[in-house]
């Protein structure tokens, strides 16, 4: 009887040992999938600017001292373009100030092509402000451009509150 007990215990011990050994040796694999989305981002740090009060014949700059910060980011490997345009001439009722008098310029500290170093007016047909380099379109680096706006009020301008919309456009 004792022999059977010892034999049974030994068998149980061996079975447990085998199961541990099998567990330790078992391998498996799972497939991990992740979808990384592309980043193509436009940031504009304000929704309005103003020139305060200007007299006919006077020239002024926007009152926002740091200018308007417009940043672009891309990871899509294609150079991107930033354009700036005045949707319409500055107008007050039926009166308007021609776009030749409304200007933009600014600075960019990045390695693409910045086309706003010299003052340009909004009547010019080419309104490209920044062309990113290939490197910048791959790294997700935020490319920061600072825009300032100037306005010369023609002598014959009638008094009024003149408004328009400046549009920044970012595409590949």
């Amino acid at each position: 009887m004792r022999k059977y007990f010892i034999f049974g215990s030994l068998l149980c011990f061996l079975l447990i040992l085998c199961s541990f050994a099998q567990a330790a040796q078992a391998t498996g694999s799972i497939t991990v999938t992740v979808l990384v989305r592309g980043s193509f981002n436009l940031l504009v740090d304000t929704d309005s600017v103003d020139f305060a009060r200007l007299m006919p014949g006077q020239k002024g700059e926007i009152t926002r001292t740091g200018g308007v910060v417009v940043a672009g980011t891309s990871t899509n490997s294609n150079p991107w373009y930033l354009k700036v345009a005045a949707v319409n001439p500055l107008s007050s009722g039926n009166d308007f100030i021609p776009n030749e008098n409304f200007t933009w310029y600014g600075t960019s500290e990045d390695s693409g092509s910045w086309l706003g170093a010299k003052e340009k007016n909004f009547s010019e047909t080419n309104n490209t402000a920044y062309i990113s380099s290939f490197e910048e379109s791959e790294t997700a680096k935020r490319i920061i451009n600072k825009f300032k706006f100037g306005l010369r009020v023609p002598q014959d301008t009638k008094p009024g509150v003149y408004t328009t919309t400046v549009m920044f456009t970012m595409t590949e």
């Binding site: 436009l42 940031l43 949707v87 920044f168 456009t169």
Partner: protein, 258 residues
């Protein structure tokens, strides 16, 4: 404690004010191959990455290339390469809360007469309140490239690259042209290199040279000034699985003081 609370409140308000608009889209371009008379659908994920709610307008426009390689945008249907009127969006205006995203679906249907390449752009534009002064708005676009299956003819010609500078110490101005002779739009990448002794690379520029069917693009480049000597300029332009090459020798001479 009250002072700290007020400071934090001011900080939170200023953070919200600091970023008026920040939008992310994915993808930024879509290439669609369609059989004549067929339709395909897709979606664009638009995300408000700012801390403020934003109201957006979605719409399509045409575009053509400007001289600098950027795009000039126009009303739908105004370009001969337009497929804007073939595109239907499931939404034309919506609002996104801070960090919220939305899938905007589109369906593009090719007419039975379609042939070659067509293009469009789907814009997402921030809607701003009317106010005194100047409103500042932004828009970001997904470029649509559509090809009609079985009708595409790819053909291009690279002109000889030339250098117009010969004086030491002056920027080296170079130019080359590319003509798209097929009926497909070509998204090409050009690499222009200045070498000395056939092996020493002095300066390299990489740039996109994208063209619509029939278009010709002249690329002007300015390289750093060089010392007196003999050099070579090499242009390599590739699209699809095709690569075109052009090269030219040029000499930089010392200018003797008068």
């Amino acid at each position: 404690m009250k002072k700290i609370f007020i400071s934090v409140l001011i900080l939170l308000v200023s953070v919200n004010v600091a970023f008026a608009l920040s939008i992310n889209i994915d993808p930024s371009n879509v290439k669609i191959l369609l059989k004549t008379g067929d339709s395909k659908s897709g979606e664009i994920i638009v995300r408000n990455t700012s801390g403020s709610p934003v109201r957006l307008r979605a719409y399509v426009e045409d575009w053509i290339y400007a001289e600098d390689g950027s795009k000039t945008f126009m009303k739908p249907g105004s370009s001969v390469f337009s497929c804007s009127n073939w595109i239907k969006l499931d939404s034309d205006a919506f609002e996104l809360s801070p960090k919220e995203e939305r899938k905007v679906s589109y369906v593009i249907s090719s007419p039975p007469t379609a042939s070659g390449s067509h293009v469009s752009v789907i814009f997402f534009e921030s809607l701003v309140e009317e106010q005194a002064g100047i409103a500042v708005s932004g828009r970001i676009g997904t470029i649509i490239y559509q090809d009609t299956e079985g009708t595409i003819k790819v053909d291009g010609e690279l002109s000889r690259v030339s250098v117009s500078t010969s004086e030491e110490g002056k920027p080296v101005n170079a130019a080359f042209s590319f003509i798209n002779k097929g009926n497909s739009m070509l998204l090409s990448k050009a690499k222009v290199t200045i070498v000395q002794n056939d092996k020493d690379v002095l300066e390299t520029r990489a740039l996109p040279v994208n063209t619509l069917p029939g278009e010709s693009r002249t690329v002007n480049l300015s390289f750093s000034p060089l010392k007196e000597g003999k050099y070579k300029i090499k242009t390599e332009l590739s699209y699809g699985d095709k690569t075109l090459n052009s090269q030219a020798d040029f000499t930089i001479k010392k200018i003797s003081p008068k």
